[in-house]
Symmetry: D2
Subunit: 345 residues, 4 copies
C-alpha cells in the first residue's frame, strides 16, 4: 500500500535527519537558546531579506496558530479567515479554547479577498451594536490554502493594504509554504511574504522536517513576550535545538525549496494523468495537493493499493478525494499510481 | 420621541416594582438563599408542572447563556445554533470566551430543524477526522427567535428527540418567552417546554422585570454545582432577593402571561397597519417583534418621532427595520405610530 | 433575628429607590447609553476631580473584577494581590476562568506593601526562567480590604509609584469604598484614589444601591474597547439606566458619604462594646466590618437573635466572627446587640 | 564547559535514535494511529500490568499537564498541588490559561500528604461560602518531585485512598519517572503507580527520548474524548509515529530503567563528593537531581567549567544550586566535576 493521503507520512529528509544524528550527543541549553536555533533564525532572516525579523520555532501547526493568535488578540477580538481555514475547521476549536472567535468568510477556493476583509471590517464598525459583536482584529490566510491554491503577489499586497488601513494584523499560515513558493504559477517570494504580512510561519512538518514550524514576525507589537506565550501553550520544546538543527539544515543549500520542487513536479505529473482520464479538479492549483472528482467505481479499484484522503461525496457515483505528494514521494510510486489510473475502466 | 426599538426601554411593571418597594427594608441572606427566591422557584416549578426542576436566577441574557453553556460543555465541545442565534452574533463572543465554539446552522427565519441537527451530528461523527473538529454536544434555540418566530410543539418535540438520540443537550433561550407563549399561533405550553428541553430560561428583563432570567433545569447531569459556575461568571447577585421578589410577582396571578399578551395584542395592531401599507415582513410572526421592509423615504419621515432599530439595507431605496412592543408599550403610542404610517405618502 | 453578617441584607437606600420609582416608566435606550448614566458619570468625574476619567457601570463585584482584569492583561500576565484578596479566595476562580493567574502575596491584615510588590516584580524579572513563570502586570488591592483595614495616602502613593516604575497597573477594588473614605483614621480622598490608581471602582451594592459598581479609569491604555469586554463578560446591563439612576442619586447631595458615615458610626459603637467586653480584634480597623475573637459560649447565646458571619476557629473555645454594619443598619438593632453583649457572662 | 544544569542537554539515547533512523522512510498514517504507537502502548500496558489502560503520547510536559488537567476538570474546579509543583510555578500559567485555578499546599520537600489533601477538601466543603471558592477536584503530584524527592508506596496509597474517598482525581507527573523508580530508596513499581493513580505519565524527554511523554489512564471517566482535547491543545503530533517509535524502543529490553539507573548511579557519586566536602542538601533524595548549598566562592571557581542551575540565595556567601545527571551523563564528566570539587578550597 502506497500512501498519498497526506504530506506527512514519512519522517525527515535524509539531510535533516543526518544533522540530528550528527549533533545528537552535543550538550546545549534548552528552550531554543542554543547556537543551532540562532543560526537557523539568522538563515531565515537572510532568506526573508530582513534582519530585524523575530524568529521562533514551535512544534506543530495547530499549536503555532493558537499561540500566534492568542498572543495578538485581546478577549473581545476575533480572527477573520476563509470558511475552509484550518483554524475554523480542523483544530478542534483551539482558537476558541483561547477565548477568541473565528470569523469565517465564504470561500470556494480556500482564499479570501481584500474586498471581503474590508466589507467585514466596515460591516462591523458601522453596526450600531458593534460592541455586542466580536471585533475583527486579525486576518488569517493560508498559503497554499487548505485546498492547495495560492495567493498572487497582487492579492497578498491588496490584503495587507486593507489590513494596514484598518489596523488588522495579517497572519499567513505557511504549513505548506515551500510547495506554494515553487509552484509554476507562483509569483511570490519569501521576501514578499515577509514584507506583506505581520507574522507568518514556514512549515517544516510537511516539508522535510520530523516536525517544526518557524514563526517569523515583522510587526513590533507582536514581538513582545512571545516566548512566554509559547511556553504557556505548551509550545516551547525542552530540546529546542532539535528545531534549530532541522531548520538550519532546511535553509542550507536551498534544501527547503529543492525538496518542495520535487513534490510539486510529481504532483504535476499526477495532475496530468488525472486530466487525461477526464477527472475534474476542485479548486485547481499547481501545488502538492490535488482535490479531484473521481468515480466511486475507480476509487474502489485503487483503494487496496493507494491511500488517498476522502473529502466528500459529490453525487451517488462520484466523490472528491485528495492525493498529496511531498518531499518524500518516490517517483516509482507516482509511476505506479499513474499506471493504475490509466488502466482504470 | 417614542421608542419602539426594543423591548427594554422602561423599568419594571408596576406590580413588580411595588413588591420591590414593599420588601426593600427587609433583611435577607444574600446570593439567592432567601424566601422570595424559594417562593418564586416553587411557583415556576408549579407553572412548569414538575417539582423536581432546578430553578436558578441570573441577571441578564448573555450571562445566562454563557453560564449554562459553560456549565454543560467540556473543552472540545461546541453548541449548534441558528446562524442568527444571539450567542453567535450579539454576545461579543461570550461563549467563545469560555472556550467553546459556536457551530452555526443556516437559518432564514431564526429557527433550526431536527433534520439539520441530525445531519450536523452525523456529519461530525462520520468524518474520519472528527477528533480534529469541535464535537457538537448542545443545541441552542431561542423561542421566540431573534427574528420573532416561534417553534411549534411538533418542531420542539422533534428537536428534543434527535438530541436525546445522540446525547446532545437541548437549551432554549427564553429571553422573550412570554411573548411566544401568548402568540395567537402558538401551541406550546410552559409545561411542554419544560418537558422537551434539558434546560431553558424564562426571560424577565424583557417581560416585566427590571432585570432577571430564571433558568429551569430538568436534566440531572446539568444540575450539579451550577451555583459555583454562576458565581464564577459573575452571575450570582449579592442581593439575590431582588430576583426572587420580581419573579415571585411575575408568577403571581398570571401576571407574566397577561403582560405578555398586552405586548402581543399591540404588535398585532401594528402589523395590520404595516400590512395595510403594503410593507413586507421578514420572517413573518405573531410575537412582539416586527421585522419589516420599509421605503427609506418613509423611515426618514418617521425617525424624528418614533424610534425603531435599523437592521439592514435591502436595496437602494428600502431597508429592514425592527419595531418592538412590550409589556410597557402604551396603546396611545401605538395609535400614534399607526396614524403616522397611514399618513405616509 | 437581626442580621449583622454582611452589608447587603437590605435593598436600596430610600432616596435611591425613590429615584428608581420616579423614573420607572421613562423610556431610555439600553446598555448605559442614557442621560442618567451620563449624568452619574459626570458627577463621579467631578467628585474625583478629573474630567477625563472614563466611567462605566457594572452590576456586581466579581463581574467587575474579572472584567477589569481581563481587559488589562495579556494571556501570560497575572495579578498580584494579598493572599486574602477577594479575587484570590471568594470568586470561584473568576480571574482564572479568564485565563489569568492570581499571584498572592502574604498578608496578615489584608493589605500589601510597595516593598512586597517591588520584590515580587524583581524576583520575577531576575529569574533566569522568567519566561516559564506568569508575568506580574497588575496589582489588585481592596480599600477597605476584605478585613476592613484601609490604606493610608502614603501607602497608596508608594504602591502607585512602584507600579509606575515597573509598568504595572494598579487596580483598587472599592466594593466598600464609602466605608473607608469616612473612617475616622482615613486620610485618603476620592481624588487621591483617582490620582493614584490606573483603575478603581466605587461600590454601590454594599453602599446604598440595589446593585452596581462604578468603574473609574484613568489610564488611557485601559480605556479602549472596555464596553466590548463588559458585554462579553455578561456585565452590560440591558436597562443600564438602572445603574445610572442609582449612582446619580448616590452622588447627589453627598448621599454616598453620608450613608457611609452612618454605618461607620454604628460600627464604632459596636467596637467599643466589644472592647469593653475584652474581645480582641483581628486586623483592627475603623470601617464597617469588625472581625472579632469571641468565646464560643457567647456565640451560642447570641446566635438565635443576631446573625454574624463565621470566619474561623481560633482554639477549642474561641472563634473569629464578623459583624458588619451598613447604610441600612438600624440604631435600635445596634443598641440591642450591645445590650446582649453587655449581658453575656 | 560541561553541562549539569538539567537533564535534557543531549538528544536521544543512541538506541532510540537508531530506531528513528531505521524507520524514517516508512510510510505511516498520522496522529498516533500507526503500528509503533500501538506497539509502544501495548508494551507500556504490559509494564504497568493492566491491559485496560488507555495510553496516549504527547510531546512535552507542560502540554501534557494542561491537557490532562483540562480534560478532567469543569470550569469551577481546581487542582491541589505542592506549592513547588511544576504547574504552579514553571508553566507560565498554562493551567490557568485553560481556566482552572491551581490550589497550592505548603511543601518543604516537594511532596504533599494525604492529610493535607483531606484537610483542604474538608476545609472547602465545610466552608459556608464554598460555592464562592474554587472546588478541589484533582490532586497533582510529581514523582520524583521538582526537588528530586520521591513518594513511598505507603504515601502514594494513602493519597489515593483520600482521593477516592472524596471523589478527587489523582494525577502523577512522571516527567522524571525513571529516575524515581530506580532510586536506591524507592519501593514503588510502575504497577503500583498504575494502580494508585487515576492518570499519570511516563516522561521521555528527560529519560532517553528526543521528546515525548506517555500518558497512562486508568480512570474510565477520564478516557472519553481525550484525543479531541490533545488535538485542541496542540498536542497531537502529526507524525505521531515518532513518539511510538521512541517509546517502543524505551520499553524494549528494559532500556528505560537501565538508562535511568545510569543517571542515578552517577548522581550517587556526585552526592558523596558533595557530602564529603561538607555541603548540605536541600530536600535530600537519591534520584538524579541534587539541590545543594554551596559557598559562592566555590561556585565562582566552578562556573567556567561546569554548568549548574542557580536556585536561590541562602545568605551573603551561600547559594543553593542544582546539579543533574541523566541517561546521557558521561562518567568522565562526573569524574572531572568530583575532582574539581575535591580541589576547591
Amino acid at each position: 500500500m502506497v500512501l498519498f493521503q497526506c504530506d506527512y507520512t514519512e519522517g525527515a529528509h535524509p539531510k535533516v535527519l543526518e544533522r540530528l544524528v550528527a549533533t545528537n550527543m552535543e550538550q546545549w541549553s534548552g528552550y531554543g537558546e542554543d547556537d543551532y536555533c540562532r543560526s537557523a533564525a539568522d538563515k531565515i532572516r537572510k532568506a526573508c531579506g530582513n534582519e530585524s525579523l523575530a524568529v521562533h520555532f514551535l512544534v506543530g501547526g495547530t499549536q503555532t496558530n493558537m499561540t500566534v493568535i492568542d498572543a495578538a488578540l485581546r478577549s473581545h477580538q476575533g480572527v477573520l479567515c476563509a470558511s475552509t481555514g484550518h483554524i475554523n475547521v480542523h483544530e478542534t476549536g483551539a482558537v476558541e479554547s483561547c477565548g477568541h472567535k473565528v470569523l469565517p468568510l465564504p470561500s470556494g477556493d480556500g482564499k479570501i479577498t481584500a474586498k471581503q476583509v474590508e466589507e467585514a471590517y466596515l460591516g462591523h464598525i458601522n453596526d450600531e451594536a458593534h460592541e455586542h459583536i466580536v471585533q475583527p482584529k486579525m486576518v488569517y490566510i493560508s498559503n497554499p490554502t487548505e485546498l492547495g491554491t495560492i495567493y498572487s503577489k497582487a492579492e497578498l499586497k491588496a490584503l495587507y493594504e486593507v489590513c494596514n488601513k484598518y489596523g488588522l494584523y495579517l497572519f499567513l499560515d505557511g504549513a505548506r509554504l515551500g510547495y506554494g513558493l515553487v509552484a509554476p504559477d507562483n509569483d511570490l517570494t519569501l521576501q514578499d511574504i515577509a514584507e506583506n504580512t505581520d507574522v507568518f510561519y514556514i512549515g517544516g512538518t510537511k516539508v522535510g522536517a520530523l516536525f517544526g514550524e518557524a514563526v517569523v514576525m515583522r510587526n513590533e507589537s507582536l514581538k513582545a513576550d512571545f516566548r512566554y506565550i509559547m511556553k504557556q501553550k505548551g509550545g516551547m520544546l525542552a530540546k529546542g535545538r532539535l528545531l534549530g538543527v532541522q531548520f538550519d539544515a532546511l535553509f542550507t543549500d536551498n534544501l527547503y525549496f529543492d525538496i518542495s520542487a520535487h513534490a510539486v513536479n510529481l504532483a504535476e505529473r499526477l495532475r496530468a494523468a488525472f486530466e487525461q482520464k477526464g477527472y475534474e479538479f476542485v479548486a485547481p492549483n499547481r501545488t502538492n495537493q490535488i482535490f479531484v472528482k473521481v468515480p466511486d467505481a475507480h476509487l474502489e479499484k485503487l483503494k487496496g493499493e493507494f491511500g488517498y484522503s476522502y473529502d466528500h461525496r459529490v453525487d451517488e457515483t462520484h466523490s472528491v478525494v485528495r492525493f498529496c505528494t511531498s518531499w518524500s514521494t518516490l517517483e516509482s510510486n507516482v509511476d505506479a499510481l499513474i499506471g493504475a489510473i490509466e488502466g482504470l475502466k
